[in-house]
C-alpha cells in the first residue's frame, strides 16, 4: 500500500486519463467484443442510410462533363 501510494498518489488525474485511453483503445480494437461490433455496425447502418437518402441525384445515362 505504501509503494502504491508513492507510485500512484491519490487523485492522480493523468493515470486515470491514461487508463481510460488504454481501455478505450482496447475496446475499439477488440474484434471479438460483441458490444464493440454492435456499436460499430449500428454506426455503419446509420451512415449507410444517410448515403442511401442522398443518392437521388445520380443519373447514370447523363453525358460526361466536358463531352
Amino acid at each position: 500500500p505504501l509503494f502504491d501510494a508513492y507510485c500512484n498518489p491519490p487523485g492522480s488525474h493523468t493515470d486515470n486519463v491514461g487508463d481510460w485511453l488504454r481501455d478505450g483503445y482496447r475496446f475499439a480494437t477488440d474484434r471479438n467484443d460483441f458490444r464493440r461490433n454492435l456499436i460499430l455496425n449500428l454506426g455503419l447502418f446509420a451512415a449507410g442510410v444517410w448515403l442511401a437518402r442522398n443518392l437521388s441525384d445520380i443519373d447514370l445515362m447523363a453525358p460526361q462533363p466536358g463531352v
Partner: protein
C-alpha cells in the same frame, strides 16, 4: 352578427376528413417484410451454370439447370411449376405446385392453395435423397387490414416434437404496419418460445423495417433514389451467436442497355457484384458475378447463361 366565435358550421364537425375514409391496405405476409431490401443484394454465384426455361403451356413450365462448380457437387436440376386458373394478382396464381429435383434424387417442393377468398394454405417438403428433412404446413388469413399466419414445422406426433410459428401484422395507417412473431418449439425434454416484434414504415421512395426480439434484431432500409438506382442497407444482430452484421447493397438498372448491376459491401469484409445482361433479340440472359472476402482471402466468381 354571423359566426363571431369562428366555429365551423355544425355539419362539418360530424364529417370525418377524407383521408381517414380510405381503407387501410393489407400489410402482406410477415416473410415479405424485408423483401424489397433483400432483392437489392446480389445472389452468390460460383461456377458455371446453364439454365434452360421452357414454357410448355399457359399453366406448366419446366427449367433444366446444369451447374458445374469447384466448391459444391456438380449436378443437374429439374424444376417444374404448375399454375392454376385463379389469378389474384400478376404474381399470385392458385393453385401453384412447384418442384425441384436434382440428380441425386433430393427434392424441394411447394404447394400453394387458395382455400377461400381470404384463406391460403401452403405445404413445403424438402428431402435429401430418400430422407425427409423438412415438412412444413402454413395457413394464412388475409383480412382487410391485417394478416394472420400459423405455421407448423416438422410436426412429429410419434416423436412429440414440433415447431410452431404464429405471425400477425396490422396496418395502423396507410404507411405504418406493426406486428409480431411467436416461435414455439418443443421436443422431448425441451421446449421454448421466442417473441419478436416487427414494424414497417413505407414512404413514397423508401421503406424502413425493424424486427426486434430476445433472439436479436434485424433492421433494413430500402431507398429508391430514381428509376435507375435502388439502395438497400441491412443490420442484423444475433444475441445467441453474439454476432452483428452490416450490409450495403445497390441495384442499378439501365433498360436502354438491357443491363442490371447489383453490388454489395458488408462488415465481414466481403465485396461482391453481379452483372446481368439480356441479349435481345435472343431470349438469353448472361450473368457474371464475383465475390471477394478480403479478411479470409477468398475469392469466387460465377458465370451463368439463362435461355428462355
Amino acid at each position: 352578427m354571423g359566426n363571431t366565435l369562428g366555429l365551423a358550421p355544425m355539419g362539418t364537425l360530424l364529417r370525418r376528413s377524407p383521408r381517414r375514409e380510405e381503407p387501410l391496405p393489407n400489410p402482406g405476409s410477415f416473410d415479405e417484410l424485408h423483401r424489397l431490401c433483400k432483392d437489392v443484394f446480389p445472389a452468390q454465384m460460383e461456377g458455371v451454370k446453364l439454365v434452360v426455361n421452357k414454357v410448355l403451356s399457359s399453366h406448366f413450365q419446366v427449367a433444366h439447370t446444369v451447374h458445374m462448380s469447384a466448391l459444391g457437387l456438380p449436378g443437374y436440376h429439374l424444376h417444374a411449376a404448375y399454375a392454376g386458373d385463379w389469378q389474384l394478382s400478376p404474381t399470385e396464381v392458385f393453385p401453384t405446385v412447384v418442384g425441384d429435383m436434382d440428380s441425386s434424387g433430393s427434392l424441394n417442393a411447394q404447394v400453394l392453395l387458395l382455400l377461400a377468398e381470404r384463406l391460403r394454405a401452403k405445404a413445403v417438403f424438402q428431402t435429401q435423397q430418400a430422407k425427409f428433412l423438412t415438412w412444413q404446413f402454413d395457413g394464412e388469413y388475409r383480412g382487410d387490414d391485417y394478416t394472420a399466419t400459423l405455421t407448423l414445422g416438422n410436426p412429429d406426433l410419434i416423436g412429440e416434437s414440433v415447431i410452431m410459428v404464429a405471425h400477425f401484422l396490422q396496418s395502423l395507417t396507410q404507411r405504418l404496419v406493426l406486428g409480431g412473431e411467436l416461435v414455439y418449439h418443443r421436443r422431448p425434454g425441451e421446449e421454448g418460445a421466442i417473441l419478436t416484434l416487427a414494424g414497417k414504415y413505407s414512404a413514397v421512395h423508401w421503406v424502413a423495417t425493424l424486427n426486434v426480439g430476445s433472439g436479436g434484431a434485424h433492421a433494413s432500409y430500402y431507398h429508391r433514389a430514381n428509376e435507375q438506382v435502388q439502395v438497400g442497407v441491412e443490420f442484423e444482430a444475433n444475441t445467441r451467436l453474439q454476432d452483428t452484421t452490416f450490409s450495403f447493397g445497390y441495384h442499378l438498372t439501365l433498360p436502354q442497355a438491357n443491363m442490371v448491376f447489383r453490388g454489395l459491401v458488408d462488415s465481414n469484409w466481403c465485396v461482391g457484384a453481379v452483372l446481368e445482361k439480356k441479349m435481345p433479340p435472343l431470349p438469353v440472359t448472361l450473368a457474371l458475378g464475383a465475390f471477394l472476402n478480403h479478411w479470409r482471402n477468398r475469392f469466387h466468381c460465377g458465370f451463368s447463361i439463362t435461355v428462355g
